[in-house]
Symmetry: C2
Subunit: 250 residues, 2 copies
Amino acid sequence: MSGMDGKRNLLITIRYCGTRYHGFQVQKNAVGVCQVFQDAVEKVLGERHDVKGCSRTDAGVHAGKYCLSMKIDKAIPCDKLVMALNAHLPGDMAVLDARDMPMDFHARYHCRGKEYVYRIHNSRVRDPFSPNLSYRLGYALDADMLHREAQAFVGTHDFAAFQSAGSDVEDTVRTVHSFSVTRQGEMVLLTVSGDGFLYNMVRIMVGTLVFIAMGRIAPGTIPAILESRDRANAGKTMPAHGLFLNDVYY
Amino acid sequence: MSGMDGKRNLLITIRYCGTRYHGFQVQKNAVGVCQVFQDAVEKVLGERHDVKGCSRTDAGVHAGKYCLSMKIDKAIPCDKLVMALNAHLPGDMAVLDARDMPMDFHARYHCRGKEYVYRIHNSRVRDPFSPNLSYRLGYALDADMLHREAQAFVGTHDFAAFQSAGSDVEDTVRTVHSFSVTRQGEMVLLTVSGDGFLYNMVRIMVGTLVFIAMGRIAPGTIPAILESRDRANAGKTMPAHGLFLNDVYY
């Protein structure tokens, strides 16, 4: 691990299909995105480097845009590095950009916000083309109604009710900047941006909206659920394969 | 094969991802869509039936809509048959509809026209999510220019120059009803409808437009290529995995 002594600090933007991976972080008994990326770096630069990811992501979650920082020594131009990494990465991962940053830049600590998209394939018939890129729900959704309900998430709130058990985060206050629900044909897209997200927070917010759509939670209840700080009052945690990390802000 | 004596004649509409299949037709040493569909029918009805497809399709070609006709004896309601078949088909195939038709209906002979879409992912970076659902081309395409050029295909022409060798079709005159080229972000969609298509005709028409875009064939040349009836003057046959049979008309 020579990364600690590098003379350059790179911000690298990648995109990946999460289906085959157990999240970004290095895993002991499963393949993580980070490990596969480090393998490609090792092939290109002849050295293995530490990588700082912008976020942990769960198994099966996808990334349209994921940022990481990495310290290296080699003087390779950024565009050449992008091409070389793409030549060595598997087909379900791609490097979009690489750029030099100040030496103290850190992909996670300097992240100012993120945008996620949850894709619901709202159809009674399965999608035979890319079943792992959306969650299929046969119950007909009213995207406009869900959009109105979702506005209760916008703002600075204590999201303790929208966090899965097992997290050791103490401060559960987060700011959601926007939450939109739109329909594109059979696809319902739930897009949420914020300064940070608790463990499974996006998937539980979407699950709560789905429960509202299906009549299992009453419309207008989201403020009371937030107030309760009780996970049991929110909806289910939606499956990982509909979730995309879509943008990362610095 | 009890299909010949059936008391009902069904028109069944399916959708499939062609990646795993060697086309629709039954193959000796490779898996065809038809065979997998017949397997599901056999599980549901307890009998294997002849199936008449609307079209041959090549290995790797997809279908957003594919029609077939099949004679059966059982009195099962159409909606129940759809659900039962979907429960027995693999995830990359789905039944959209089933309906009773006159006994002389034939999915291929009564087909009045078809629409195909060819998807070009116009990007220098690969698509890590669904690489088998489009053909990637790094060279920047001008969709408006290609749309104008493509209008030369519209109408009734002898398409002999746009047919792959190995076909034994004698009459190479076909009518193209419309041909549009549009851009949706990084995706360029080439949509063509017509009364019928020669072997590889859509893929060669698209390849000719791509050659025009890249300067390997001069703009305005399509009428002369049609006139020549010589395959050597047209562009390359585009790969199968960008092609979708999109609609079938009766």
